[in-house]
Amino acid sequence: MKPKKVLVVDDSKLLHRIFEIMLRNCVLVHAGDGVEGFERLGQHEDVDLILLDVNMPRMNGLEFLAQLKADAKRAHIPVILITTEGKEADAERGIKAGAAAYVRKPFKSEELLVVIAKINPGGAA
């Protein structure tokens, strides 16, 4: 079966490395902010899921999400917001803006995997 392709948009190198280990059965595409995220989406049209940090330089997660959902070709890609408790309002805004779910830092791998399984990106596994 073709492995799922996940775009990780986060300015934390630490989290990129953690996602690499947590989702080692997936193909990961990395971006450090929203602008780079769109560049990567242009290079990888077959992304099944986006893991999106909220606080990032240049283009933050909520700006990225709004732009993504306004793009008819990419609006279907499910997005999981990676947020913090202090930014609960951001998470709620993200859900209203079309994010499929959010996880709060610090999170455990099983928590993230459960959220991903519920969304089932790219169809049945």
Binding site: I21, G86, K105, P106, E110
Partner: protein, 254 residues
């Protein structure tokens, strides 16, 4: 901790989960067969059940299998937890030593505090050269710190736990009487305490530090300062080398 039912896993699912899933299917099938067998047996043969040795044995094996499955599920959950802890430790160590840029090392310390420990407010402090006070080299959320100990980018003492850690180099995890810090982590280089990391507040959804966080705090105590020290030494040496190279080039041209 979340213990998932097999078959509910995401794309990063482990092979162990698949094995448990198959075991569950086998158990379901065995249960169906046992029920079918009971239904097909004459009424007299079913009472008492133990009088039918085949059925009794089948039921005993079914119970054994269910017990094995429960035990495997628990074991899998424990292994996943352990894997998560080891992953955090590995990634934290890897990232701390992945660069010789002092700013990047500091960013990594901040990322570990925020993303792995769940710290909303923290301060990274180092002794100044004269040992009179400490300099806050990195902080987050300090503008909201009610203690005021870290105002102006300096720490001149006042928090009993932090003062003790800076003195004796011991890791302290709160609550500590008289201290607002949840944890004070000594930063040591070759046995000398050069500073400390004070965890002052966690995110609201994580009310206290967990037992597994202690390993991360220990790791920070052992690696953060040496990684930062090595990066600073490299940075200073590199700057001096470039200055000398420029001078040599100027002399050659002259």
């Amino acid at each position: 901790m979340t213990v998932e039912r097999p078959g509910q896993r995401g794309p990063g699912a482990e092979p162990g989960g698949e094995a448990l899933n198959q075991l569950q299917l086998l158990l379901d099938r065995a249960r169906e067969l046992a029920t079918a067998l009971q239904e097909t047996l004459p009424a007299g043969a079913q009472t008492p059940r133990s009088s039918n040795p085949d059925l009794a044995e089948l039921q005993a094996r079914l119970l054994d299998l269910e017990s094995d499955r429960t035990s495997l599920s628990q074991s899998l959950a424990e292994h996943e937890q352990q894997t998560g802890r080891l992953m955090n430790l590995y990634v934290a160590t890897y990232q701390l030593h992945a660069t010789l840029d002092p700013n990047e090392v500091q960013s990594t310390i901040a990322e570990i505090a925020t993303n792995l420990l769940g710290a909303e407010r923290f301060a990274l402090i180092f002794w100044k050269g004269d040992g009179s006070e400490c300099e806050v080299t990195l902080g987050q959320g300090l503008q909201d710190d009610p203690s005021g100990f870290f105002a102006g980018g300096k720490y001149s003492g006042g928090d009993p736990a932090l003062d003790a850690t800076l003195t004796d180099g011991q890791l302290r995890i709160g609550p500590i009487e008289g201290s607002a810090a949840l944890a004070t982590v000594p930063l040591t280089v070759q046995g000398t305490t050069v500073g400390a990391l004070a965890i002052l507040k966690l995110f609201d959804h994580k009310p206290t530090l967990r037992p597994e966080d202690r390993e991360l705090l220990d790791l920070l105590a052992a690696h953060a300062a040496s990684a930062l020290f090595a990066a600073r030494v490299y940075s200073a040496t590199d700057r001096k080398l470039k200055t000398l190279e420029s001078l040599v080039n100027l002399l050659r041209k002259g």
